[in-house]
């Protein structure tokens, strides 16, 4: 197997007396769509928070293309090529839709603050490039008509897509999607599924996705990992995971409602 893009080794996180993640290990290969499922409170979002640097791990290691990145600042990790969305949407609500994309685009291309204040030719050129990229992304995600709207006023589905566009604007190699289909109706879920596949192609993405809607994940993902009470109980192709007795027990045997939301 080739070198994984992202690898977590024995990653644990303790919140007081609660062991939210218990020595989880997994590796994400370049180009794959990797699903993460599990009942509520299984530690899926905690894992995303550890990978994206939002929360430091209690122990264990995160490796990016084989090099340790454990405990680095979120903005450094993002600059390495790791972008995420949030389960409970964290847009820049007071800014316009377009500005929500121009914020992450500030590094593509980079310009100095002095050039910006003096409105130099290089700054103006960079701004045109940023605007072009922003409009392309809006076009791609079907948001161009909303460009001037304040992000906080958007409909729910549009906000979800804006969050994805904003993450894409940072030019990630790995996109972490935290429940992108939550709150969408079945038709919208289908569209989202196609969108994620298309985005992976066009942006050469590796995708890690948390989702409660199991059929969607089964269709979308190359491989899946199942978390239950902070422990990785299964890992494999959708078919393998579907037949895993531990997974069946976690979902059906305990009745914690894995299909909720």
């Amino acid at each position: 197997m080739s070198q994984p893009l992202l690898e977590v080794r024995d990653l644990s996180r303790r919140f007081g007396g609660l062991l939210a993640l218990d020595r989880v290990s997994l590796a994400v290969q370049p180009g794959e769509i990797f699903g993460l499922i599990g009942p509520n409170g299984a530690g899926k979002t905690t894992l995303f928070n550890l990978i994206s640097g939002v929360t430091p791990p209690s122990s264990g290691a995160v490796l990016w293309r084989g090099a340790a990145i454990t405990g680095q600042q979120p903005h450094r990790l993002n600059r390495l090529g790791l972008a995420r969305t949030f389960q409970n949407l964290r847009l820049f609500e007071g800014l316009s839709v377009l500005d929500n994309l121009l914020v992450p685009l500030q590094r593509h291309p980079r310009t100095s603050t002095a050039a910006g204040v003096l409105n130099s030719a290089s700054h103006r050129r960079a701004e045109r490039q940023r605007l072009d990229t922003a409009w392309q992304l809006l076009e791609e995600l079907g948001l161009s008509a909303l460009a001037e709207r304040q992000a906080g006023t958007l409909a729910y589905g549009d906000r979800r897509r804006l969050e994805m566009a904003r993450a894409l604007a940072t030019r990630p190699a790995l996109l972490l999607l935290d429940e992108p289909a939550a709150g969408l109706n079945p038709a919208e879920k289908d569209q989202l599924c196609e969108l994620i596949g298309a985005l992976r192609q066009r942006h050469q993405l590796t995708v890690m996705i948390i989702e409660h809607h199991v059929p969607l994940l089964m269709r979308l993902c190359d491989r899946l990992a199942v978390l239950d009470f902070g422990v990785r109980i299964a890992l494999g192709t959708p078919e393998e995971v579907r037949r895993d007795p531990q997974v069946i027990e976690a979902y059906l045997g305990t009745g914690t409602g894995g299909n909720a939301s």
Partner: protein, 296 residues
């Protein structure tokens, strides 16, 4: 009713309003502006009265280029202090940052009061005058305000300003989008200090005397009121707030001691009647459309 002296004071108020606005534009409630104002003013007062190379004359005159040099030096010293202090205090958020910056204001005030060379409680007096009348100060004050306003306006269309706005909305999301939020907050804090330091240097000459009371907790609250009344969503808000609230106590002078009550009422009712402040982006947009429509 508004003489040149009051006009200069109003412009200085607008400058201090902008100084409070800059960190606030990045979501940081800093009340440190009076500390940096005091640092800049004290430096200018010391340099112009002690350092003869700047060219103060026996009759109390002062060359304008030396004043400009002091504006730069006052800004630099305040900026340097902000750089050192900011690394520490900007780890705090919200009200805790506000309290830490109030502490900074007090530390600077007590230091200026007790240092052996800053004149104690009396302060430094007979600061030489680059201009014969108050009207002379109008030009440098306006120029400084124009420069500060221009920088603030530029910020809105460039990465640093957008990063600041993003931090104000959601700092964690900004960090996850590759923004070095510590750096952006520190830059805003230093810019704020440079502006307050230069303003202090100009104010020291204009006021002719300078002492530790210039940078006090009262001033923290007054300058914050400029921003709250004027509005913190565009840089024009604090400018308008600074101009109005500096003029108001003077304009109310004829009504006697009731003026303080009226002044308090304005500060109280302002946020109640216009929670976003007087000047909001929406208002500017309407004005812009009206302006375009009004053209022949």
């Amino acid at each position: 009713m508004i003489d040149n002296g009051l006009l200069v004071q109003m412009l200085l108020g607008a400058l201090l309003g902008l100084s409070v606005y800059l960190p606030l534009a990045a979501g940081q409630l800093s009340l440190a502006t009076p500390a940096f104002y005091a640092v800049g003013g004290t430096l200018a007062a010391l340099l112009s009265t002690r350092w003869s190379a700047l060219g103060a004359t026996a009759s109390g005159g002062f060359p304008v280029p030396s004043l400009l040099l002091e504006l730069v030096l006052g800004g630099l010293l305040a900026g340097l202090l902000a750089l050192l202090v900011g690394r520490l205090v900007l780890r705090l958020q919200g009200i805790y940052l506000a309290i830490a910056t109030i502490a900074l204001v007090e530390i600077v005030r007590v230091a200026i009061l007790n240092l052996p060379f800053t004149g104690g409680a009396v302060g430094i007096f007979a600061i030489p005058q680059p201009f014969a009348t108050a009207a002379g100060y109008l030009l440098p004050a306006l120029a400084l305000l124009a420069l500060a306003g221009w920088v603030c306006q530029r910020l809105e269309g460039m990465p640093l300003g957008r990063a600041m706005a993003a931090i104000r909305d959601d700092e964690l999301a900004a960090r996850c989008m590759g923004i070095d939020t510590t750096g952006a907050k520190l830059t805003a804090f230093v810019l704020s200090a440079v502006l307050a330091g230069s303003t202090g240097a100009l104010a020291a000459h204009f006021l002719n005397t300078w002492n530790a009371r210039q940078g006090s907790f009262d001033a923290s609250i007054t300058t914050l009121a400029f921003v709250i009344l004027g509005g913190s969503r565009t840089w024009l808000g604090p400018v308008v707030g600074g101009l109005l609230l500096t003029a108001l106590p003077e304009l109310l002078r004829p009504v006697g001691d009731v003026r303080l009550v009226l002044f308090g009422l304005v500060i109280l009712l302002g946020p109640v009647l216009a929670p976003q402040g007087l000047i909001t982006p929406g208002l500017l947009e309407r004005l812009g459309r009206w302006g375009e429509g009004g053209k022949p």
